[in-house]
Symmetry: C2
Subunit: 256 residues, 2 copies
DNA sequence: CGCTACTTTGATATTTTTCAATCTTGGTGG
DNA sequence: CCACCAAGATTGAAAAATATCAAAGTAGCG
């Protein structure tokens, strides 16, 4: 069943429990679990049953590039689970600038509120597909389903770790180091193997990187070029970076 | 029943469900809830029943000033709920420096793990009293008690918001502004009313403040003195600050 | 094909870091 | 009770880095 979301005019697919498809079109929450695992990487936290129950309250929504999922201060009524695409979560500052507090992609949750209102804004960096979970339904479901709730708990722990690690990146005072740590972060998201030499995809602009790293966009640009001049990375194009000298790169990315 | 913790040699009190006392000596988890509230402030998330069930698996532990609650990389077996005192959570860097990712006090949780190991170290800044919750018991309890689990969920959301706000503080490039935002953070923790002119207590050293704000300790010291020279704050002693010109202070603390 | 948004590059100014020395303070022990 | 000691805090001067301002170059999109 396809319905039209009156509020935002985006296409929505209403799911029923029996219709949802297993892998790419089912709720997916990615995180590193508490327990010891062999891979040590992020995994799908949801079991088949949990996916099914979540699917019953979920609707698929699509956002074109640049669309706002929600605005800071707006009344919070939904949580989103990203299926594909990239979202930036940011706060606007009085000066007119903005700071990005997180980049979110497949398997991530956003829309967690405080006092009934969204704490920051969310905007699609690329075309985005996501599950929309009405807050009232979700709350009811979580309180009746400890297993599912536990998965959400793990996911939040994971996000907390990521946010706290981000603060360590931000404490650095060298732009090259910040950028290298940022690239490492992106790299670890998308690749399972450590020694990935596959190009890293950066959907965001230099401005966004700057707003995430607490740098001016000029400093970001200069660092990209400097790392390239030094033979540490190669910029295939603005949004595709390859690490050409892993040893030197890792050395720069090592927190100082 | 008083038992001795063999691992750390600290005094422990074993609680039984019927013995726990209601207010200051019962598990306490502070956070701003999702829903709209009148105060908008952090509240005790736990109901009487939840407190009781949590108390059954909890033991009170005491740590002298400077004691380590746990070390980064250590096998994670317990979560702590701070009753009183202040704890710093930090990561050591290869250079020998350290970065503080969070200060924790009454009502806070710490010890959340990844892959069965603690992600950062925790050290008592003052004398600390806390509940120790064995991870296996806690997990079992949470999975059987959705209401309690929901409270933990809210707490994690709260911590995530705090951590993300911290990144906005770290993006500033002026030491005065960072310090003012930090003082605001401390102030909002401890006071319910906004126009508190009560002195702010800073249990941590200048080094700790620096490690939290991504500054050198000299810069922190200079900012304290500068704000005092300008009549914005007054340092009663190293650990007690009073805001003497709220308007100017707020202006400096406004994110830029 | 041209416009617009994004990126790059250059020169200067501001700020903090760093290194070094001195000063305070809180605690200890005689 | 006082003196001493060591950790923590402050201050100064110089060096290093990014921010800022300004201008020109690219690239994607309609």
């Amino acid at each position: 069943m396809l319905v039209r979301d009156r509020c935002r005019g985006v296409a929505m697919t209403k799911l029923s429990g029996s219709h949802f498809k297993p892998s790419h079109t089912a709720p997916f929450i990615a995180a590193a679990p508490f327990e010891q695992t062999k891979s040590g990487r992020t995994v799908q936290l949801l079991s088949a049953g949990e996916i099914g129950r979540l699917a019953q309250i979920a609707a698929i929504v699509r956002f074109p590039k640049g669309a706002r999922l929600y605005e800071e201060g707006e009344k919070a009524d939904c949580v989103y689970n990203v299926i594909e695409g990239e979202v930036k979560m940011f706060s606007a500052l009085p000066s007119g600038q903005y700071r990005i507090v997180a980049f979110l992609s497949a398997g991530d949750l956003l829309g967690l509120s405080e006092n009934g209102r969204y704490v920051s804004s969310a905007q699609a960096i690329t075309r985005v597909r996501a599950y929309r979970l009405p807050l009232t339904d979700l709350k009811k479901l979580l309180r009746s389903d400890p297993e599912l709730e536990y998965s959400f708990l793990c996911k939040l722990c994971h996000e907390l770790r990521v946010a706290r690690f981000h603060t360590i990146t931000l404490c650095r005072h060298d732009a090259d180091g910040k950028l290298a740590m940022f690239l490492t972060e992106l790299d670890s998201d998308h690749s399972v193997s450590k020694k990935s030499s596959a190009p890293i995809f950066l959907p965001m602009t230099r401005s966004d990187v700057a707003a995430y790293l607490g740098l001016s966009l000029e400093a970001v640009s200069r660092s990209f070029r400097k790392l390239q001049r030094d033979g540490v990375i190669r910029l295939n194009d603005r949004h595709n970076v390859e690490i050409t000298d892993r040893a030197r790169f890792d050395h720069i990315a090592l927190p100082t």
